[in-house]
């Protein structure tokens, strides 16, 4: 019963969040387009499903994953865990935090796989590309990008480097890749940066950043706690373009191999024909004699 009440509260919050979108859509549909919405019944049910789904999803996250994930982020960054038994950190070395980096990467990867907006974009990309882009491979490459990004972002908080060096270096990589990777993937890759960081990833990643920044001496949670999200939205762009480049390189080398094989086959066939030809000639010679 309590659970049901909580669900109703979450559902109400979700509906309030969606209200502006809904009023814009309805307003433009009725006042500007002035045509009834096609398949209105189906679309209406779709909206209701989305709302119920989102409310259930958020409630479940609040109940199960967020408390546990946040607690873990706190425990892994706590001084007692980093330097067994010490209460206050002195003289830290970046490698003391190896479990934090591994956790950052693992949680970044796994939350991105479950991110609903990324699922939506991946479904659309597979549909539009006629299956040339596989939804799951796209999601996995984005997730690898987020994993690397958040691990590097945690390293940055530990060592205390200024954030913009990393972001600008990332931009340079993106620019270079843009010129070398297949044109078809570029817009999708740029998009994948923005969609990764929403419902599931942000709260857990923010907890990790705040935990790190508040336990390391010399870091301010309010200044260094920010910035992990920026990493998580830059690295997927690089990862998706790298995925496209790898696929292209693979296809290219497979093509070359096939060509080589064909050439060898043709060579062999030519050789055989020549041999047969010379055999025939020699037999002809014999006959002539």
């Amino acid at each position: 019963m309590d659970l049901f009440l909580e669900f109703l509260v979450t559902l109400q919050e979700t509906v309030v969040d969606v209200l502006p979108i809904l009023s814009i859509i309805l307003g433009f549909q009725l006042l500007v387009i002035r045509k009834p919405i096609p398949h209105i019944k189906q679309v209406g049910f779709g909206f209701v499903y989305v709302l119920i789904g989102l409310a259930l999803f958020l409630l479940g996250l609040e109940k199960a994953l967020f408390p546990l994930g946040k607690m873990m982020a706190e425990q892994l960054t706590a001084p007692e865990f980093i330097q067994a038994g010490e209460q206050v950190l002195t003289n830290i070395h970046w490698s003391d935090y190896k479990w934090v980096y591994i956790f950052a990467a693992a949680i970044g990867f796994s939350t991105t796989i479950a991110e609903p907006s990324l699922i939506a974009v991946a479904i659309k990309a597979e549909e539009v590309s006629g299956g040339a882009i596989n939804a799951n491979s796209l999601r996995i490459s984005v997730a690898i990008g987020v994993a690397l990004g958040i691990a590097l972002g945690s390293y940055r908080i530990v060592v205390g480097h200024p954030i913009h060096y990393y972001i600008i270096a990332g931009y340079v990589v993106v620019v270079i890749q843009t010129f070398y990777c297949p044109k078809l993937i570029v817009p999708l890759a740029y998009d994948s940066g923005g969609v990764t960081t929403s419902t599931v990833t942000v709260p857990l990643v923010a907890a990790l950043g705040l935990g790190l920044a508040s336990t390391i001496p010399g870091r301010s949670p309010l200044i260094d706690g920010f910035g992990l999200i920026a990493f998580a939205s830059l690295f997927p762009i690089i990862a998706v373009m790298a995925y496209a480049q790898l696929t292209e390189a693979k296809a290219h080398s497979a093509e070359q191999k096939a060509e080589k094989r064909n050439r060898i086959k043709i060579d062999k066939r030519n050789l055989k024909q020549k041999q047969q030809g010379s055999l025939k000639e020699s037999s002809k010679d014999k006959l002539n004699r």
């Binding site: 659970l3 502006p20 979108i21 814009i24 859509i25 549909q29 500007v32 387009i33 045509k35 919405i37 398949h39 189906q42 049910f45 779709g46 909206f47 499903y49 989305v50 119920i52 789904g53 989102l54 259930l56 409630l59 479940g60 996250l61 609040e62 199960a64 994953l65 546990l68 994930g69 873990m72 892994l76 956790f103 949680i107 796994s110 479950a114 609903p116 699922i119 939506a120 974009v121 479904i123 659309k124 913009h164 972001i167 993106v174 620019v175 843009t178 078809l184 570029v186 817009p187 999708l188 740029y190 998009d191 923005g194 990764t196 929403s198 599931v200 942000v202 200044i223 999200i229 920026a230």
Partner: protein, 255 residues
Amino acid sequence: MLCNLSYDIFMNHQFLVFLKALLGSCKDLLPIILVIAFFQFAVLQQPMPNIGDILIGLALVVLGLTFFIYGLEMGLFPIGESMAQAFAKKGSISWLLTFAFCLGFGTTVAEPSLIAVAEEAAIVAASGGIISDTIESQLSYADGLRFTVAFAVGLAIVIGVLRIIRGWPIQYLILGGYVLVVLMTIIAPSWIIGIAYDSGGVTTSTITVPLVTALGVGLASAIKGRNPMIDGFGLIAFASLTPMIFVMIYGMVIS
């Protein structure tokens, strides 16, 4: 009798689809469960606290994700595409751009994660002595930040839609945006930079993304000579770039 039978088959089919979707959601969630279990048992070496709550929560998450994806393909994608096609048929660019701005602004201004970030940013600014340490000035700062980001997202969708209509290549626009971000980073006050960079990521919510993606793809398929793959995607990329620039401008204006 026949009608009854076909109804049964239909229901069975729907049920199978639902079951398949449910299984897919379980798979999507499996990595999180593995990661959390591994760190809890192997690294932190602690028992799982209140396991009952966690199991209920996980079941809710799986169910929620299934419903969401189901509704996505029934409601959000079709409405985004049908509106894009209706606007393309109508042929009025100004109405389309107005719609684009409203969609960007309206969905962002009420975004819960943006409200949270803006409030936190106000606390940073107050403790850093940028604004006076009163509740009113913090509130007005947070609201200012929120409206700045919402305006930036609205503008981003407008630029993105204009790009689809005209067929401009995306990379030059994005690269130009990067150059602006770098230039602004050099001149903007340093306390705003972390918040500005993060504001790019938090603006795009779970409902906005499918809607905006469907809008872009729908427009690109409705306009002759546009490729939905090359021209249809990219709206979200703009929406996560412009807020960075505008928040840094906001920081400069404030200080």
